[in-house]
């Protein structure tokens, strides 16, 4: 009786080479669907989700006490050698000196409490002489607004790669 029942069960549920029940085609499909969904969902979201920022200004600030800390031997980079902006949505470079002494910041000298606000309205690559960087240059890359899904996806991937590759 039991051998007949086992035979009937093996007809219904195929087993793999270890004798364990093999996943059915439906389950495999479901699993495949989940895997594809897990991979595709962030990609689709990254492509479809609009690029927005809470402010159009990308702020870089020299904090109070920076000069004193530098004099004490502390090395701290405030301005990256390359800054990426987006026309129309993140297109203003804001440099602020909150320290107590004048500081060369990016392309110019800023007095204590002074800021320099540079808007960029066109896609461009802007090179500023800057002694703070080993290359002697600060590069401001202004990109076109990523309007279409592919542009957004590509912009997000490039941003992620830049963050991964370090400052």
């Amino acid at each position: 009786m039991s051998s007949t029942a086992a035979g009937a069960l093996s007809d219904v549920q195929p087993r793999d080479e270890d004798g364990l029940p093999a996943p059915s085609r439906t389950r495999r499909r479901r699993l495949f669907g989940i895997v594809v969904g897990v991979i595709l969902t962030p990609v689709v979201c990254a492509a479809m989700w609009p690029v927005t920022f809470d402010s159009r200004e990308e702020l870089f600030e020299i904090p109070k006490g920076t000069w004193a800390r530098r004099m004490a031997g502390e090395k701290r980079e405030i301005l990256p050698s390359e800054i990426h902006l987006l026309v129309g949505i993140r297109n203003v470079l804001m440099l602020k000196n909150s320290d107590d002494v004048p500081q060369i910041f990016g392309p110019t000298l800023l007095m204590p409490g002074q800021s320099l606000r540079i808007p960029f309205t066109r896609p461009s690559e802007n090179y500023f002489a800057c002694t703070a960087h080993a290359s002697g240059q600060l590069i401001v890359v202004v990109e076109a607004t990523p309007i279409w899904p592919w542009n957004r996806l590509s912009w997000r991937v490039r941003g992620m790669l830049r963050r991964l590759s370090g400052p």
Binding site: M48, L116, P149
Partner: protein, 204 residues
Amino acid sequence: MKKTLLVGALLLPLVVLETYFSLRRPPRAEDGLRSGTFEPPREAPAFSLDGSNGEKLSLRAYLGKVVIVEFGYTFCQEVCPITLAHLTEVYKKLGSAAREVQLIYVTVDPARDSPERLREHLAVYNPSFLGATGSPEELVAVQKAYGVVAKRVVSNYQAQGYAVDHSSSLYLVDRQGKLRGLVPFGTPADDIVHDLELLLRKGS
């Protein structure tokens, strides 16, 4: 059928958002200067150098005019010719208002830029452009006051002997002598005209 509806229901909000943000009007142009703006503006660092007009050239002498301060040198092959050509176009576009604007071209290469050489060089672009030179110490002090970088390097053009890597931005000084704007290299002539007209209006 159910699956199609489910996928559709999931994608619909994304498509709606996508359409909304794609069709949204682009932001308005900036109301203030189109170039970099110093806030608060500070007194433009004063200088008194040898002018290409054969006289002492003092920044203070131009109070009441809008002054463009450019740092460069006459042997420059890559930056200055473009900027000076731009400024020539700017002056043309300003028309009669150009009389209220003065370009002062401060050399970063005093060894080669004599007042005479500066005069001849600038006259090619606009006879009203003024050059300024001085001792290396005087010029370094002016560069430092404006935050300008200038470094002698090996030239890509062998005949020149050497080149000078230098800051390429222009500085805008208003009629009251305040340092108001920093114009990045490559800013279109129309944007410079816009800023100069704004400063001319504000200070009149």
